[in-house]
Symmetry: none
Subunit: 195 residues, 4 copies
DNA sequence: TATGAATGAGCCTTCATTCAT
DNA sequence: GATGAATGAAGGCTCATTCAT
């Protein structure tokens, strides 16, 4: 009988509220109001305020990784896959501005998240990038002596910073505009043909 | 007459406390205890708890940028300057683990910081990177068609992610080990000689 | 059409739940679960949580007093009646451990109960004891100068404390074992033959 | 620097507040208001609301037992000691009506108290009574075959019920009036000279 | 009648900040 | 200046009660 759509409504409301005020400055009652329900109702679906944030992050990351994996799988080779990944990373955030705000700014807080419950989902994304890089090294599209772990973090960090700057700059331009440049620089950086 | 060393004692204590528990989970009284003073004394030097964090960040960033600027200025060309910058970025964090923890993990929270009082210091660091890139483009060491703003963010993001991963991984290896790889990949990525 | 057995089911469930957790630490939903019904259903039969406790107490006390009255009436004289009463008091509690727990421990809370709705039933029990004492005084089995009100409270208090100690001691011995000693001491205390 | 009188002020205020509304119906802020301090101040001296009640009970019981022990020690023989004890029990309550209210009515709630933190203090009082009874049995003032444990509980229960009735009856008469009758009945009940 | 999801008032506790000493 | 006891606003969470189904 419990409404199966409620948790999602609550999470969606939480994204909007956290995006506006930040996690610590948002009241549970704010989320409830945004979701159009009573504050107590939230506790039928989530044990604590923390759990909302953790669930939010886990779910979005899991969705995101699954989606990225599918999209990437459709591409022919490592280079195409990386291009697809970069484009997707940017376009997804661009199309979900509230989520972008929360993910890029609010979710960075503290041990709780990266170190805690969501570590698994984050590392899944890293693994996806990593596996594409290794595929590229196996096929010769990427230099053999590139340390894949380092390159993975570099690419993620580069995309992440572009996204954060875009969010902090109040999204006053198109994030996807930068996708081509990021891909070009990174791919040339790891290509076998550089000096 | 206010003790001119107190603010620095307080900030140093704050770094250690924030590094352990995070900003929101640290009490003003925790900082006071760590600094060996009474809680009320902190308010002789800082108006609010927020101000401690903001000041902390501003000061450390300002120091850092000044230091980086000096070091970079001593190098001959843009490529050497970038290599120096990358090495410095990593070695500084490696030598200040508590500061690293705070900067990489705790300071990421919320609008307050990146968007707020510390925006100026952050952008000074970006400007430093940016100016080196432009110098490289002018001298021909860097491709003319590299969008410098994007490349700046990429390099910062790459270094930042390496640092964050290292902190989250409990600093179980040497961060500076990756400096060479980061420099190589980035420099090749923006070099004029790639395909 | 309301199920005429439900209120009793609810009260019985309430006894078990209150015995385990106490009144204030029991949820209405705990009682419902114990009774195998939904929480809302309870409100078809009781207006408030309080009413459950009050009804519980009233009913049990009324049953108990009626039973005691019948049993006592079957005895020949005041002394035999008092012996019967004491034995009955202890054996009833011994045979209803959950009820004993609730009556001896939980029902003692606050003005609400002794002073409130259940005052009438409690005083009926006191009246029963009192009337037997007066019968004894009339027949000469009990000293004429015994203040009957005081003696009534003493006997009730004595039995009650024995019962409470037994409950608090987790019922690790037989409460009825003490009946004889209680009767002997009390009866000698009020007998005309003492010094 | 912490005010050493505050805890006592808080406990005294708590006695008055609990006496009026009962424990569960009293707000921590009520106690604070009654004590003339801010609610938060209470938490400088007590960890939780519960701790106030437990401390209250422990302290008052400990005081009471110590006092009773001293008074009883001043008497010559067991019978005189029991008379003194009974008189003292009643007069102490009569002189502290708010405390009487709390002790007789509010502190009876639930496992928490009798079974919990205050069990030790309660049993000290039982031990005092018990030791006097044994002294009386040794000296021949009390029957040898009286089960001392049972008689202890009876006497305590008798006094306790007299006190409770007096409190519930809004203290409309003098509790000490009954002391003599209680002593007489109990002492005759355990005397060697009864039938 | 029975259900149990939804409600929202209520309260304990925390902690940044103040201020008398 | 330094202290730390005192303040009191704020908010997460609980749970008795209601009501749509």
């Amino acid at each position: 009988m419990r409404d199966p759509a409620k948790p999602q409504q609550i999470l969606d409301a939480a994204i909007r509220v956290f995006a506006r005020h930040g996690y610590y400055n948002s009241r549970v009652s704010d989320i409830a109001r945004e979701a159009g329900i009573a504050a107590g109702t939230i506790y039928l679906y989530f044990k604590t305020k923390d759990e909302i944030l953790v669930t939010l992050f886990r779910e979005k990351m899991a969705e995101w990784v699954a989606h990225a994996r599918r999209e990437v799988a459709g591409e022919q080779d490592a280079v195409a896959k990386l291009r697809r990944l970069i484009t997707l990373h940017f376009s997804t955030l661009e199309q979900n501005p509230d989520l972008a705000e929360v993910v890029q700014v609010e979710l960075r807080q503290g041990q709780k998240f990266f170190r805690g419950a969501s570590a698994h989902e984050v590392s899944a994304y890293f693994e996806l990038i990593h596996s594409v890089l290794e595929e590229g090294m196996a096929s010769g599209q990427i230099r053999h002596d590139v340390p894949a772990r380092v390159a993975t973090k570099m690419l993620f960090g580069a995309m992440d910073q572009l996204a954060t700057s875009w969010v902090l700059g109040k999204r006053g331009y198109r994030l996807t505009e930068s996708a081509e440049a990021v891909a070009t620089i990174f791919l040339q950086g790891v290509s076998p043909n550089g000096i």
